[in-house]
C-alpha cells in the first residue's frame, strides 16, 4: 500500500495524502452506514473517490447516473434500495436522501489497505451508456474491472519515467462516465497517481490547475481529455511545458491536431480506445500511427458477426461497437462504427434509440433523425411532419420537440437543425433511403 504521505489528490487548497484519505474514508463510511445504495454525484474528484471506496467497503451498490439531469438521476435510482445521494447541490434533496461533504475529524484510521481487499469485492458500480432502446443501458462494473481499465493510464505514466511524487493527472472529462472514471479516479485509487480535484473545462481552468500543481510540488502533468475539449485547450497546452503528456479519448482524435500537439518539445500525445462496456483497452500515438496496440491482458476474438474483446479483469468477452481489422503483429485498425451507431462529440447512441425518443413527441405525425457518419463528429438533423390540423406554429413545435428530446437524450444528440416536411418519403418497408437522407441533410445545410 502507499506510504502515508503519498500524494493522491491536489488542488489550490493543497495536497490530500494517503493518510488524509483513509481518515476521511472512515468518517464517510460511518455516515453512510444506513444507506442501501449510493448515488455518487460529487463533482470534486476527491470527494467522489471517497464515495466510491466508502460504498464498496460498505457493500453498497454505487450508481453513477448517465447525466445530472433530474430525470436521469431519478430513473437510475428508481429500483435502488434506500439510495443516498452524495451531492453538494441542495436541488438533489427532491430526489432522495442527500449527504453533502463534511471534512472529517482526524481520528486515526484502521483500514489502510483498502485496495487489496477491494480486488475481490463484488459490490457493483453502475455506469451508464446509451443502449438500443430509449433507456440508457446500465453497465455493471466492479473495482477489479475499473482498476483493470485504469492499467493503461498507469502503463503510460510508467513509460514517462517520472517520479510519482512529481507527476499529476488533470481531467477535463466527467469522472462519472467511463473514461474519466478509469483514467483519473481509478488511476489514483488503483495505482496511486495524484489527480487534480477540480474540473478543468475552460482554458483558464487549465492555467489555474497548473498553478495549483506547482504550489503542491507537482511539476509534470498529464492531461486526461477528449478531442471536443482539446480544440479549445490547444493553445493553453502548447504554452504549458508542465504538461508532458496528453491522453485523449477517441472520438476520434483528429490526426492534424495530434501532430500539432506532438510537435511541441517533450509532449507525448496518446489516444485511448475503449467503450463503457470494455473500458479503456487500446492506445496509439495518433500523430505517427493509425493502428492501435492492445492494453496488456486484452485479446481480440473475431467471430463471423463481430469482434469480441476479452481481458482477465472482464467477466465475459464483450462485442465491440466498431468493425476492426486485425494485423499479424497483434495491432488492429478501426474500419468504422458497426450498425447504426451515431457518434457526436465523442458520445455514442444507437440511431434506433434516437428515433424511438422522437416518435413519442405529441403534435408530430412522423419524424426521423437524419444521420450521416463523419470522421470526427456525425451530422445530425431532424425532419418532422406536424400533426394534421395542429394549431401550433413551427416555432412552438420546434421547442416541443427539443424539450422532449432534451428530457431523455444527451444534449449532444439534440440537433439544432429541424426540417418541417409535409411527409417523410419512406420506402414501402418504412425505411428512408440513404439518397433521401443525404437530400434532406442538404436541405438542412449539413451536406454539400
Amino acid at each position: 500500500m502507499y506510504a502515508a504521505d503519498r500524494k493522491l489528490f491536489f488542488s489550490k487548497d493543497g495536497v490530500i495524502d494517503h493518510k488524509q484519505f483513509v481518515t476521511d474514508l472512515a468518517a464517510l463510511r460511518a455516515q453512510l452506514q444506513a444507506a442501501g445504495s449510493i448515488c455518487n454525484l460529487f463533482q470534486n474528484r476527491y470527494q467522489f473517490a471517497l464515495g466510491i471506496v466508502a460504498g464498496l467497503l460498505n457493500n453498497q451498490t454505487i450508481i453513477l447516473p448517465p447525466s445530472l439531469a433530474p430525470e436521469a438521476i431519478r430513473s437510475s435510482i428508481a429500483d435502488a434500495p434506500a439510495p443516498v445521494i452524495l451531492s453538494d447541490n441542495a436541488e438533489h434533496d427532491a430526489l432522495a436522501a442527500r449527504l453533502s461533504f463534511e471534512a472529517a475529524q482526524s481520528e486515526p484510521a484502521k483500514n489502510w489497505d483498502y485496495a487489496t481487499s477491494l480486488q475481490a469485492n463484488p459490490t457493483e458500480i453502475h455506469v451508464y451508456s446509451s443502449g438500443s432502446t430509449r433507456q440508457p443501458k446500465c453497465n455493471v462494473k466492479t473495482w477489479k474491472m475499473l482498476r483493470g481499465g485504469a492499467a493503461i493510464t498507469d502503463q503510460i505514466l510508467q513509460e514517462l519515467e517520472v517520479q510519482p511524487s512529481e507527476v499529476g493527472l488533470l481531467g477535463t472529462t466527467p469522472h462519472g462516465h467511463m473514461y474519466g472514471l478509469e483514467a483519473t479516479i481509478f488511476a489514483t485509487l488503483g495505482f496511486g497517481h495524484a489527480t487534480y480535484r477540480d474540473t478543468i473545462f475552460y482554458p483558464a481552468d487549465l492555467e489555474a490547475a497548473i498553478e495549483a500543481a506547482r504550489a503542491c510540488g507537482i511539476s509534470k502533468l498529464v492531461l486526461i481529455t477528449s478531442p471536443a475539449h482539446l480544440r479549445f485547450l490547444e493553445a493553453a497546452i502548447l504554452a504549458a511545458p508542465e504538461i508532458i503528456c496528453v491522453l485523449s479519448a477517441t472520438a476520434p482524435f483528429p490526426q492534424a491536431l495530434a501532430q500539432k500537439l506532438a510537435a511541441r518539445d517533450n509532449l507525448k500525445v496518446m489516444e485511448i480506445y475503449g467503450s463503457t462496456e470494455t473500458g479503456s483497452m487500446a492506445l496509439r500515438q495518433t500523430a505517427f500511427e493509425e493502428a492501435w496496440s492492445l492494453s496488456a491482458g486484452f485479446e481480440l476474438q473475431k467471430t463471423p458477426a463481430t469482434c469480441l474483446a476479452a481481458a482477465p479483469h472482464l467477466p465475459v468477452p464483450i462485442a465491440l461497437e466498431d468493425e476492426i481489422e486485425q494485423h499479424p503483429d497483434g495491432r488492429f485498425t478501426l474500419l468504422g462504427r458497426a450498425g447504426d451507431m451515431v457518434s457526436v462529440r465523442g458520445k455514442r447512441s444507437r440511431l434506433a434509440a434516437l428515433n424511438a425518443t422522437l416518435s413519442e413527441v405529441a403534435e408530430i405525425s412522423d419524424g426521423v433523425f437524419l444521420h450521416d457518419k463523419r470522421s470526427e463528429s456525425d451530422a445530425l438533423a431532424i425532419a418532422v411532419v406536424p400533426l394534421q390540423g395542429s394549431s401550433l406554429s413551427e416555432t412552438e413545435i420546434r421547442s416541443l420537440v427539443r424539450r422532449h428530446l432534451l428530457l431523455h437524450l444527451d444534449a449532444a444528440f439534440v440537433p439544432k437543425k429541424l426540417l418541417f416536411l409535409p411527409e417523410i418519403p419512406r420506402s414501402a418497408t418504412g425505411k428512408i433511403t440513404r439518397a433521401i437522407t443525404i437530400d434532406l441533410l442538404k436541405k438542412a445545410g449539413l451536406h454539400s
Binding site: 475552460y202 481552468d205 420546434r398 421547442s399 437543425k417
Partner: protein
C-alpha cells in the same frame, strides 16, 4: 429617468443583441436569428438547448471578442450562463475590449 440611465439602457439592449449574435454565429444556429432569441430564456436545457461543448464554444468567442476568460470556479457560472441578459451583464462588468 435621467438621460444617462436611458443611454445605459439602450447600450445594454445593444450589447444583449450583440451577445445573441455571438451565440448564433459561434454555434451556427441557422434556424433562429439573434433577434428571435428571448433574452430571458434559458440557454441550456429548454430554450436553446445547448450542451457543455456549446458553453466552451461561447466562452471561446467571448474571450476573443471581449478579451476576458471564463473560469469554472466562478460560483456565479450557473447564473452567468442562465440567459442572454445575465451573460450580457457579466460581459459588461468584465470586458476588457
Amino acid at each position: 429617468m435621467s438621460t444617462t440611465q436611458l443611454a445605459d439602457q439602450s447600450d445594454f439592449k445593444k450589447l444583449q443583441l450583440e451577445v445573441a449574435e455571438l451565440i448564433v454565429n459561434a454555434l451556427v444556429l441557422d434556424d433562429v436569428t439573434a433577434a428571435e432569441i428571448d433574452f430571458d430564456a434559458p440557454l441550456f436545457g429548454e430554450g436553446l438547448g445547448l450542451d457543455s461543448i456549446d458553453a466552451l464554444e461561447i466562452a471561446f468567442a467571448i474571450s476573443e471578442t471581449y478579451g476576458f476568460k471564463l473560469r469554472s470556479d466562478d460560483e456565479r457560472n450557473q447564473e452567468i450562463f442562465s440567459c442572454v441578459r445575465a451573460l450580457s451583464s457579466h460581459i459588461a462588468e468584465n470586458r476588457k475590449t
